[in-house]
Assembly symmetry: C2
Homo-oligomer: 347 residues x 2
DNA sequence: CTGAAAGCGCTTACAG
DNA sequence: CTGAAAGCGCTTACAG
């Protein structure tokens, strides 16, 4: 058996591809990066070589040349563990693809927010991603902006004019869910609010009210219960709703954690879900598929939003380095209504 | 204001550090990487320069030279979404630090497992991380091994001799939890099993039985309810336990998802937690802090285990490339008993 | 103990 | 449309 030629076994480089295709590394690079300015024949030869050799670009090499050495910070406070995990997944994945380093800082109060920002700056971050609820904090945004650090806001429902954002349309999402329940035949629909300080919570409630009004169905005050996005608040809100003399046949919870609380109460009262009560949520975090029956909810593509945030931030950083500037981009990602087993026509 | 000298603003390189300290880049590199073979004075000058300039090594550059271009695969099946998220967080974080690319493949049945393995191989992975339950599948391990792909098993409770693993001691963890409940004064302790096909589930049950026996407390058969690690199975197991004429004062659930189910049932029956019933779990996934009251559980450092798995795999890959080989390392991480509000002395 | 040279894999900027 | 040269930031291997 002949001696292997490759120095590091398993590593197919762009030089191997170029040699195999009989072109220069530059031409190979151009084909691999989708440039159109390559003769058809060469392009095909390179593509064949990529396939035959199983070539995959080494991103460390690429990013060394392109992005240079960017570092992005993530500054968060008061997160839902599940939500943050999922977001970080996207952020880390895209960072790894882009050869970018990620620094994470947590802060609690306003004071620790300053300290956390300071630490990020000292670590030399070139930009910062702001998950909710910090994305809605003008102070935080301003403080970073003053230091010349670009910011991307994730999942804000009230995007600031000049701060790029990645979000879904909370209003339309909550509207779609309300309409879905109406279409199933529900008229007595309870609603559990999220933390009123969060902009998405406000919009979700507003969409619910508007859609019910358009359908000509009055919503009794008692059918809208306060909540804080926590499981615990879901428990007490659901008790409140289900103890009403005329109880709702469906409950629309402003997030999945509260829906889990609502389902716990319903299970406890011996109510069959969805036979006697439909429960729906919002976000589609892992808890939605943990519950039984599995939860109908609005899917927010959190991981994809994390990726998009990194990409947007990187563009900003490159622009800034190149001395360019452009208008803040607001990316609205698609939500999806995911029908599972927790919802059905009223019994 | 004078023109900035740096080509890419914000990027402090090792050359800047070296110049600032008046040494060669090599000496700077040695200090930064903790080599001891540097004169004290030079070391201190470099360290000062690092501090003053806020230097942070660019990992893309480093990994290009050291690891070369490693790629690690993650092959999973049938995961708890929350667990997998947390594990991936660690895997991605460490990969990003090490400048390694990560490829993820999911598989369902045995057939799709072959296909997924094939895809990973075609993508040129240099090693594979196997989360549970695939880490306990000899076929999967063998198939990869035959192709010369190193494997690291995560969270198996029955590590194979020659496959490196990262895990906690499930037996000792479950023992500690049982003893904790005993020390609180509980004698009527129910147990909800995990999926009996998973090795950790078997050990956790065994530890419970042994510890109870040592305390001289008989465990009625009806006090051990079958489960599958799912919320749903937790619901029915808890119903079974709580409907007993002489019901337990505490329930030890083999994971957090089932504890969530058990708490839902207890809430429904109007049982106060922890006053009338203590509920404890295992794993400390995000659900543990989502519930109310928050869940006492055994913390498995899942994110750290993901990081450790990447590091172990990278060592294996480097060894293999260098033609070295050594014994499989089995890393046992520390668990922790996290006391929260779901457990107390029997009422 | 210290450093000059070379190169990891890739792409930018330039020349044809 | 194509390619030779240079360099991103870092460290290995070699020489002193």
């Amino acid at each position: 058996m002949p001696q292997r030629k490759r120095k590091t076994p398993g590593a197919v480089t762009i030089l191997d591809v170029a040699k195999h295709a009989g072109v220069s590394p530059m031409t190979a690079s151009r084909v691999i990066n989708g440039s159109t300015r390559v003769a058809v024949e060469l392009r095909e030869r390179v593509q064949a070589a990529v396939r035959e050799l199983g070539y995959r670009p080494n991103l460390a090499g690429r990013s060394l040349r392109t992005t240079g050495s960017a570092r992005v910070g993530v500054l968060y406070s008061n997160p839902s563990a599940a939500y943050l995990n999922e977001l970080m997944l996207g952020i880390l994945e895209q960072s790894s693809l882009s050869g970018v380093q990620v620094l994470v800082e947590k802060c609690a109060g306003m004071q620790s927010q300053r300290a956390a920002t300071q630490r990020l700056l000292e670590a030399g971050v070139d930009g910062v991603i702001l998950p909710p609820p910090l994305c809605d904090s003008p102070q935080t945004v301003r403080e970073l902006d003053e230091r010349g650090i670009p910011v991307v806001a994730v999942a804000t429902a009230a995007p600031m004019q000049d701060v790029p954002s990645v979000r879904i349309d909370d209003y339309q999402g909550a509207r779609a869910m309300t309409r879905y329940l109406l279409d199933l035949g529900h008229t007595r629909i309870g609603f559990i609010q999220g933390d009123p300080k969060h902009t998405p919570a406000q919009l979700r409630l507003q969409a619910f009210r508007d859609t019910m009004a358009e359908a000509g169905i009055a919503v009794p005050d008692a059918y809208v219960a306060p909540g804080l996005f926590t499981y615990r608040s879901g428990l007490s809100a659901a008790r409140q709703l289900l103890d009403l003399p005329q109880r709702p046949t469906a409950i629309f919870c402003s997030n999945d954690d509260m829906a889990a609380g609502a389902m716990a109460v319903a299970h406890g009262m011996g109510l069959r879900i969805p036979g006697e009560l439909s429960v729906v949520g919002f976000d589609d975090t892992p808890v939605a598929t943990t519950l039984w029956p599995e939860l109908t909810t609005i899917r927010q593509p959190v991981t994809a939003m994390g990726k998009a945030a990194v990409s947007a931030l990187l563009e900003l950083i490159r622009d800034r380095r190149a001395g360019r500037s452009r208008e803040a981009a607001h990316q609205v990602m698609k939500y999806a209504l995911v029908r599972r087993q927790s919802s059905a026509a009223p019994g």
